[in-house]
Assembly symmetry: C2
């Protein structure tokens, strides 16, 4: 076992993205309910509706970007309340391709993601991660 690479530290994770997938009008309605409920409860950066596949994602979705500090409340809440939808939660480290294809957790199903346009390393390109800019105004504190 001496050839095993050292573990990665969770300190490498600066933030997370959840992507809430929906496929068809009925699932989109459930995605609306979920979106409203997330916004009522969590200070996240809620992305716009993407009704066509974009980037690595195989179906329509919206993105929910959040700081690592929300992981212990938002992720369990999604586990309990995902409205039957498929959701991926991927960390944001220096390695976007691995974050999507290797490091992600999935609720409901694992969908195939297209890693073609994802970078192996941001720092190697002189790039940094996007800052999270929360745009929700949560009023419910009883999570």
């Amino acid at each position: 076992m001496t050839d095993q690479p050292a573990p990665m530290s969770i300190q490498a994770i600066e933030s997370y993205h959840a992507h809430v997938y929906f496929d068809g009008p009925e699932a989109r309605q459930r995605a609306e309910v979920l979106r409203d409920r997330i916004a009522q409860r969590f200070p996240v950066q809620m992305g716009r509706w993407r009704d066509q596949p974009v980037g690595p994602h195989p179906t329509a979705m919206y993105q929910v970007a959040f700081e690592a500090t929300l992981f212990p409340s938002l992720v369990p809440w999604l586990m309990l309340n995902r409205q039957g939808l498929t959701i991926v939660v991927h960390p944001n480290t220096d390695r976007p391709k691995d974050d999507h294809l290797v490091h992600a957790l999935w609720l409901g199903a694992v969908l195939p993601l297209d890693g073609t346009g994802l970078e192996a390393s941001l720092s190697a390109l002189g790039r940094a991660q996007d800052e999270i800019m929360p745009n929700t105004t949560p009023a419910l504190t009883d999570i």
Copy 2:
């Protein structure tokens, strides 16, 4: 949307189980590395090796039971360091069947679980959840 049931509170989650799956000797070796690394870092209740499918689980696995307080460190650590293995993390609420079949998060793939022997509600049967009894002695604090 008025017919939507109210969200479940994450307060319903008393603890979590991770199940680390492996299928074949090569994967079992990776599962050994992962098991040692978890035990070195996290105060969990490490279950014994299950080299045959048991209960709802479709392949060999071992269970890692842990308090909800470990969720924000252990789950991201598993996301980054799962050795290519498939892992389920399910909450333990009053509803074991839902916890396995609906509420779980998956790393690597979603495996089919057999819900036949899982109870809809523990409290309806006068039962409580098993307490977590950590049996590891972690020495590494740099997670």
